[in-house]
Symmetry: C2
């Protein structure tokens, strides 16, 4: 097995992590959480999305949040998810420096998620790319349902490769294959990523997994084996797409970081500080999260030997 020496964590709790939460999280709470994560060493954040506030109310304060955290971010990346040109224009107006444009390789999920065909979303990518070049914005692209669609099932490899080909013709930063509803398995991850890496060797790749069927960490392991070292994770394992039935939490940041550290893989993140942020998250959302580490503590925690009485 092959493992990288260092992995890059993109923290998505402020976007994907919170968007299914029923209680609206205010901008001060999000700022507080951001600062805790930043001081734990997180270097990259998907901080929100510029989507219609009626469709995803939890993201309505993303612009306000950006203005509040921009300074504290320092050299960390602050990435805004956008589903269309309108969202990208709003991000540009606010001087956001990093955009992640998301569309789905599944026609049916793309229609549900952004009311466009995949071809229409690909065409819009060209306009967004022009806008980003003009405004010196770094552009990432995420391909939703790359490992299966809850409506269509597995998406044919040829279709995915064809879409990746069209995306990589533009000069984008990170291309992320996203497993929107936790349908990926380690074999499929290893095979698809090995293929995409061999066909597009110059493209920086990221992976985005959900832990719906407990294969999140296994899929990261398979992704690392196929040469990827850039992963989306969400604190506490919160998250899910509002327009994909059966969607549940992202892979949990602290559980991923803990696994990586136990394997001598660096992340730049301090696990103890991360666990403090995870406690704060539970306070903010008002319920327990699926985090394992918050309950179990790290693998090297030692217990006192009971004394016989």
């Amino acid at each position: 097995m092959n493992f990288p020496t260092k992995v890059y964590i993109n923290e998505v709790v402020l976007r994907d992590g919170l968007q299914l939460e029923k209680k609206l999280i205010n901008v001060e709470e999000k700022e507080h959480l951001f600062k805790r994560l930043k001081s734990a060493g997180v270097q990259s954040f998907e901080f929100g999305s510029f989507v219609h506030p009626v469709r995803v109310p939890q993201m309505a304060n993303s612009g306000e949040l950006y203005s509040k955290i921009q300074q504290a971010a320092g050299d960390a990346d602050l990435i805004a998810l956008v589903p269309n040109l309108k969202g990208a224009e709003r991000a540009a107006q606010l001087s956001v420096k990093n955009i992640n444009y998301v569309f789905s390789v599944s026609e049916t999920h793309n229609l549900q998620n952004v009311q466009k065909t995949t071809l229409e979303s690909l065409e819009e990518l060209h306009e967004i790319s022009d806008l980003c070049i003009e405004n010196k914005i770094s552009l990432d692209v995420s391909l939703a349902t790359s490992f299966g669609c809850p409506f269509e099932g597995e998406i044919p490899t040829d279709r995915i490769v064809s879409i990746v080909h069209q995306v990589t013709e533009l000069n984008i930063n990170t291309l992320t294959l996203a497993d929107t509803t936790g349908m990926a398995n380690p074999k499929r991850v290893f095979q698809l990523i090995s293929l995409v890496r061999s066909e597009f060797p110059k493209q920086k790749l990221g992976l985005h997994f959900h832990n719906t069927r407990d294969m999140g960490l296994s899929n990261i392991l398979a992704g690392m084996n196929a040469g990827v070292s850039h992963f989306d994770t969400a604190l506490g394992g919160l998250g899910g797409c509002p327009f994909a039935p059966g969607a549940t939490g992202n892979v949990c940041t602290e559980d991923v970081v803990h696994m990586l550290h136990s394997m001598d893989i660096q992340t730049n993140v301090d696990l103890k500080e991360l666990l403090k942020a995870s406690h704060l998250l539970e306070e903010i959302v008002g319920h327990q999260t699926p985090s394992y580490l918050l309950k179990a503590g790290p693998y090297d925690k030692k217990y006192p030997v009971p004394v016989s009485t």
Copy 2:
């Protein structure tokens, strides 16, 4: 990555799975659960343990259970855990055909678990081996805390290899390295198993993981990559050692079987029937289990496309 074409599941819910449950499960309930698992295609069961009933009350009816399920088992293996010669003698008296002798590679945990040093347990193994030969009993050995001890931390590789050496001098069936409290990580699993396989190429190896820090399936993946295809799992992900602080559930049978099937790895188990057994388990124990599959359903479950109104 290398994967086997077939994996052998040893179902331990009736032993490891139930032993931390507070509500005592009666012999009829255990029998009912066994029959459901048997009809789902499970071929190997750790059905109980011959330990002191005061120390592990949940296992007190193991002998009675054996007499009830022996016939229905057909050609499936029924394995009794024993912690000492006395337990092995009791198993032999009941004509049990398969014994799993467990001791710990951690001195401290072995003293807590069976009130013996590791050396004393190794000496007892010789007596148990003689008893098994005399009674034509197949003898397995499980080495607890092989991937870390909650009292001592990581156990040195040299010590583990030395113990494995002494065990394999006897003619035992399966030697299982057990991660008693979920401290293993995929790198350690891959490295330790690769080493043990190269030093003892003729010894059949099994692996036993707990999902305490969500690395259970990842550790199975690493184990398969190192050439192992024999795993202990527990229905519903129940389980834990009463004498190891912080112990939580085993890797969940249905989650493991689902991952394997999604990777085109055969198990001889019918997932749908397994999920019925898992529902029954929740009824019997009276609470939800950590099973992911019971909540999410399999990866190829499709949802209807919502109709716009």
